[in-house]
Symmetry: C2
Subunit: 354 residues, 2 copies
Amino acid sequence: MSKLDNHLVIMAGGVGSRFWPMSTPECPKQFIDVFGTGRTFIQMTVDRFKGVVLPENIWVVTSVKYKDIVKEQLPEVPESNILLEPCRRNTAPCIAYVSWRIKAKNPKANIVVAPSDHLVTDVVEFQRVINTALQFVSETDSIVTLGMKPTRPETGYGYIQANSYEPSLRNKEIFRVDSFKEKPDLATAKRYIQDKEYFWNSGIFVWNVSTIVNALRIYLPDVNDIFEALLPIYGTAKEQEIIDKEFPKCENISIDYAVLEKADEIFVMPASFGWSDVGTWGSLHTIAKADDYKNNMIGQDIRLYETQNCVIHTTQEKRVVIQGLDGYIVAEKDNTLLICKLSEEQRIKEFSAE
Amino acid sequence: MSKLDNHLVIMAGGVGSRFWPMSTPECPKQFIDVFGTGRTFIQMTVDRFKGVVLPENIWVVTSVKYKDIVKEQLPEVPESNILLEPCRRNTAPCIAYVSWRIKAKNPKANIVVAPSDHLVTDVVEFQRVINTALQFVSETDSIVTLGMKPTRPETGYGYIQANSYEPSLRNKEIFRVDSFKEKPDLATAKRYIQDKEYFWNSGIFVWNVSTIVNALRIYLPDVNDIFEALLPIYGTAKEQEIIDKEFPKCENISIDYAVLEKADEIFVMPASFGWSDVGTWGSLHTIAKADDYKNNMIGQDIRLYETQNCVIHTTQEKRVVIQGLDGYIVAEKDNTLLICKLSEEQRIKEFSAE
C-alpha cells in the first residue's frame, strides 16, 4: 500500500438543524468552532488525517452554497477537489459521484469516507485504526465500517452487529458484519451493550475505489450509471454544469441502505478513539469540558449563579449573566436566542421553524 | 395664576441600575422605550405636561454625559434649559441649582418637579391634579407632594402619612403631612393600606420658586448659598464652567431628607392616576400588558413554549425562542444577556458589577 493512494472524502452537505441557533442553514455545524478552540469541525476533520492523506487527495462534497466557506476554512484542499451538489440526495449519490471522480484520477485509490462534523479526541489511535483499515482494503475487496465500542446505552446512534466468530483472516481486529441496526429503544440499547457484539455506526467507511464502484454497479445501477457516464468530463470546465443537470436525477438514498446492508464483503473494525457525532446539544453537554456544577460554557464572559447542568453557547455575547437555571440550553447567535430545557431538545427543529 | 408661570423640572440624572442590562450607565432607563411604544420614559414625562407647561418652561437636570441624549429625545426643550450636573449629589443640590436658575428668569414661577422615569397611565387625571396643585402653591407658601393612593402593600416605596384632620383651608383635596415613612416591611405596609392615611411618595413635588428657595435658605444654607451666589452668571457663557467647579462642593443629600421632613408647610395631595415608578423588572411585570400566561414580552419575534410569569425584553434580538421557564427575567441589550429569577432581581446590581 502506498500512502500516495490514500484519499479522504469529507461529506459536508449537512444542515445541522438540531444545533439551532448555533447551526443555521447559512452556516451549519460542520463550519462552526463549537468548542471555541479556533478550529471548526471540518477543520478538525482534516487535521486528524495529517500524515495519513496528502492534501491533494482530500475531497470535500458539499452543497453549492457552502463552496466559499469550504475554500476559506480549508485552504490546503485544491479547489478542484471541492465537489458541489446542486441539491441534497443523501449519501449514496454523493459517494457515487466522488468515487468516480477519484477513480478518474487514481484507479488504485484507497478511500476513507468521513462525516465533516464529528469529534475524535484520541487522534493517535484514530490514525492507527485508519491506517489499519486502509491497509486491509488495499489487500481485499472489502468494505470496512468503523464501529465504535459503546460506552453507554445510546439510543441516538445506529448499531453494527459484528459476527465475532468471523474475524477476517488478514486482520484479527476486523470482523464480518452480521447486520446493521436502526436506532434502538433504551431496553434494546441496554441489551446491545451487554452483548459485546454491537458497535455504534460511526458513518466512517473505508474501501478501495474499485470495490465501491463495483458495489454501486450491482446495488445502485441507475445512480452509478449517471456518474460512470461522466468519466470523460471529470476535471473539465463542463463538469459542474453537467453535474447540476444530472445530479438531481439521482435517487435520494443513503449508502447504508443502498449498499452496506445488501453487499457481501462488509466488515466492521471495532475501535475506541473518543468519538462522538456531537449530534445534539445534549451530546455536547456529555463531552465538553464542564465546571464543577456540570455547566458547559462557550462565551467571552459568562457568569453563573445557582446554575447547573446547563449548556451555554453564546459566542457573540459580550457578557452573559444567568441565575437559577438547571438543565437548560442557552444559545445565542446572530441575534437569535434559544432558551430550552435540555430534556426538550428534540423539539429544536419545531422551535427553529420559520 | 398664569400658565406662563408654570415650570416643569425633570430630574434625569439617574442610572437605573436595577434595570440592567436594559438600562446601562451609557443609556439609563429614562432614555429607553421600555414598552416598545416609540416613546421613552423622559419623552412620556414631557408628553403628559402638554398644555400645562410651555416647552420653554421645561427644565431638565441631568448628568453631563446625557446631554446629547436629552437634546435628541427632547428637541422641544431649549438647549439652555438643559442643566448639567458634573457629578451626582442626589436631589437637593439638583433642585437648589434649577430653582435659582428658574428664579433668575421668572421670580413668580410655580414649579412641578418630577422624576424622568416614571409611568402615568391616566394623563387626564394627572393634569387635573397637577393644575390643582399649581393653583394651590401659587396662592400659598406651601410645598405640595403628590401622594399616590396605594393599591397594594408595596414595600418598595416610601410612604407619606397625611393628617386627615387637617385638610387645607383652600382645597379639601390637599392635606397637611404628618410624617414621611421609609420603605416599610410587609406587615407595616399592610397596616398602612388599611389606615387610609398613608400614600406612596411619588417623588413629584409642586411649589412656588420663592417657597423652595426660602426653604433651602433655612434648611440647607450651605448648598443654597452656592447657587444663590451664582445668580449673576446664570444664562451666561460662564455658567457651565462655574457649575462644574461649584457643584461638586455640595452635600450629597435628598430633598426629602434636607427639606421636606423638616419644613413646616408641607402638604400632600392624594391622587390616583395610574402611577408606577417602574423601579424593577418585577414592577414592569405588574403593569405591562401580558399574555394569557402572564408573560410580558417586548421584542420583534418572541416565541414561548411552556413558559409563564416571565418578563422578556429583547429588543435587539431578531428572534427569541424560550421553552420551559416560569418566573424569570430574560433581557438582552448590546450583546449582554441576563437570565434571572424574578424573585432574585434585587441581586441585579451584584450581577451587573464589572
